[in-house]
């Protein structure tokens, strides 16, 4: 009865208009901008979780108007007077500040999550690749001390390419610095929840991201210590796509739970109930 079936003509795809469509950076599917925003920048086709700005995170995470920034005035410095081929670190960072309105790669503050007072630190990849530097470490420290003082659960969203080499050894020292304050939280039994978002790598993965009471990851987030290229050079072979994904880390025992963005707030709230003493 084949003759009944009308062959469907391929519909000429409309040229996507940038004002109303967005293309998923991962699967290249075209998605309505409205829908994309409503889905919290998660692709409904492939579950790709796009990187968020700190503001977008806070808006998703905290009760409306509850966020109050901590250590807001702390800003990057240039301890080594560092310059590279493309110019000075100072000017590059200043340019970044201009574009993002950020003083550093992290924003810290306090607010309410379903009514529970929490301290948060949210990295923003737009600021020099979310690199870990003096300002980042200091803001982290001050937020941590605030959490300690007020016994508020400390929730940290990581998004980082690693240490900021323009600050040389000083950036490396932010690893023990941030972990030192977390040791204090641990001693005081103040909950610390680490949320790893895309990407959580290098010095951030090897410091505060990996010493949480609970490790959450967003789906498909890149998480790892060494860079893929470096590892491939070391082992002289190609790595599978699954390497260093959130799912890979879950399977290898370093992530407690993978949480989709839309469930993040509720899951954090549920988890905190178990860590209240």
């Amino acid at each position: 009865m084949g003759w009944f079936i009308k062959k469907q003509q391929p519909v000429a795809k409309p040229e996507p208009r940038e004002d109303i469509w967005i293309q998923c950076p991962s699967c290249k599917a075209h998605i309505f901008k409205d829908e994309w925003e409503k889905d919290l920048k998660v692709c409904k086709e492939c579950n790709y979780h796009e990187r968020l700005t700190w503001k977008e995170r806070v808006d998703i995470l905290l009760d409306p108007k509850s966020f109050k920034e901590i250590a807001s005035r702390i800003s990057f410095n240039d301890p080594l007077k560092f310059s590279d081929a493309k110019g000075s670190y100072a000017s590059k960072a200043a340019e970044n500040r201009g574009k993002t309105g950020l003083n550093e790669s992290i924003v810290t503050g306090t607010g309410k999550l379903h009514g529970v007072r929490v301290t948060v630190a949210v990295m923003d990849f737009r600021f020099l690749g979310g690199s870990l530097a003096s300002g980042t470490g200091e803001k982290f420290l001050q937020a941590g001390m605030f959490a300690l003082k007020h016994k508020q659960p400390f929730i940290v969203f990581s998004a980082s390419g690693g240490a900021r080499m323009h600050e040389g050894i000083i950036s490396l020292m932010q690893m023990p610095k941030t972990c030192a304050v977390l040791a204090r939280l641990r001693e005081a039994k103040v909950p610390y929840i680490s949320v790893m978002t895309d990407p959580t790598t290098g010095g951030v993965s090897a410091s505060y991201a990996m010493v949480g009471d609970i490790h959450i990851a967003e789906p498909r987030a890149l998480i790892g210590f060494a860079g893929r290229r470096v590892i491939e050079e070391t082992i002289k072979q190609k790595l599978p796509d699954s390497f260093q994904t959130a799912e890979y880390l879950l399977a290898h025992g370093f992530v407690d739970i993978i949480v989709a963005r839309k469930d993040m707030k509720d899951t954090l709230h549920r988890l905190m109930k178990y860590c209240s003493r």
Binding site: L141, E167, F225
Partner: protein, 315 residues
């Protein structure tokens, strides 16, 4: 002794001494005087060169094939060493070793990177690049030190943590991170000495201490100069430039307050005179252990927190 490029004047003198000795199997007193003179010259040259090494030259000294390694320090500084093995979880990484040691009158737990001397050893040690099980072995020993209130002495000499797929799989990041947190809170004194290369996360993974010492020609950096150059200049050969920019020498790090004290190496570098090196390193460790032994543990841990909390230069 392998001479480095920038040691050419020294090499030249060495050749001339060798030539003279060959030409004059039974040297006259004049020839002997000349050789003496040349040797004095050689030392003067070494002094001059080493007084003013560039950061990149320092890197080469820190990586010198004859530079003393952890087993040399153990042999030269400790009157007793009982090596303890394993992380009680997965393996016994040769890139990180440790055990009970006696230094002067102090019983300590000593840990540190092992680079290996022979090629066979180097391969076993991953060229000093420790794996997660290495960091976990170090942590286990540090917790043992804490239990019996033995100070920890940590010797750093690594190009970095091992960047292999297996190390990644077994949680290199977690292993280093955990050490940072545990060391920050460890209830016993910790003396850290950067003896050669202080390579990034691989170094700081056993580098959180109350006193951070550094040999005068050692380096300590967030990234290797080569790595930095290839990222920032897309050109690995600009390593010398990167070494300069990164401020990786003992002098720079002292002024940045990342280290507490420089241990001066003998003329021409530690590799030219092991006995003197061991003597000065031993004395320095002892002095700092003495000092720390007079402070309460509570205060030590508090100060360690304050020390690392203060690290950073921001506006």
């Amino acid at each position: 002794m392998t001479n480095l490029d920038f040691e050419k004047p020294v090499s030249d003198i060495e050749s001339r001494i060798a030539d003279l000795k060959q030409m004059h199997p039974s040297p006259s007193s004049e020839i002997e005087a000349e050789i003496r003179k040349l040797k004095e010259d050689q030392i003067a040259n070494l002094k001059r060169i080493y007084a003013d090494l560039t950061p990149w030259q320092t890197v080469q000294v820190a990586r010198h094939p004859d530079r003393p390694l952890i087993r040399d320090f153990i042999a030269g500084v400790c009157s007793e060493f009982i090596e303890l093995h394993g992380d009680r979880l997965f393996g016994d990484d040769q890139g990180m070793i440790g055990g009970f040691a006696t230094i002067g009158k102090h019983r300590v737990v000593l840990i540190g990177h092992q680079k290996g001397r022979t090629l066979e050893e180097k391969i076993k040690c991953n060229f000093g690049q420790a794996c997660p099980e290495g960091y976990r072995k170090a942590l286990r020993l540090m917790k043992l030190a804490e239990k019996y209130h033995l100070p920890v002495v940590s010797l750093i000499d690594t190009p970095g943590a091992f960047p292999g797929a297996d190390a990644e799989e077994r949680g290199q990041a977690e292993a280093i991170a955990r050490n940072l947190m545990e060391m920050a809170a460890l209830h016993t004194p910790i003396v850290v000495i950067i003896t050669g290369e202080g390579g990034s996360g691989g170094a700081i993974g056993i580098g959180v201490g109350d006193t951070i010492l550094m040999l005068s020609h050692a380096v300590y950096s967030v990234i290797s100069p080569e790595g930095c150059a290839s990222i920032l200049w897309r050109d690995g050969t600009k390593a010398a430039e990167a070494a300069n920019a990164l401020k990786i020498t003992a002098k720079s790090l002292l002024s940045l307050k990342v280290i507490d004290e420089i241990i001066p190496e003998p003329v021409g570098g530690a590799h030219r005179d092991y006995p003197s090196t061991m003597k000065v390193v031993g004395k320095s460790i002892e002095r700092h252990l003495d000092k720390l032994s007079h402070t309460s543990t509570h205060k030590i841990v508090k100060r360690r927190f304050e020390k690392f909390a203060a690290m950073g230069r921001f506006k």
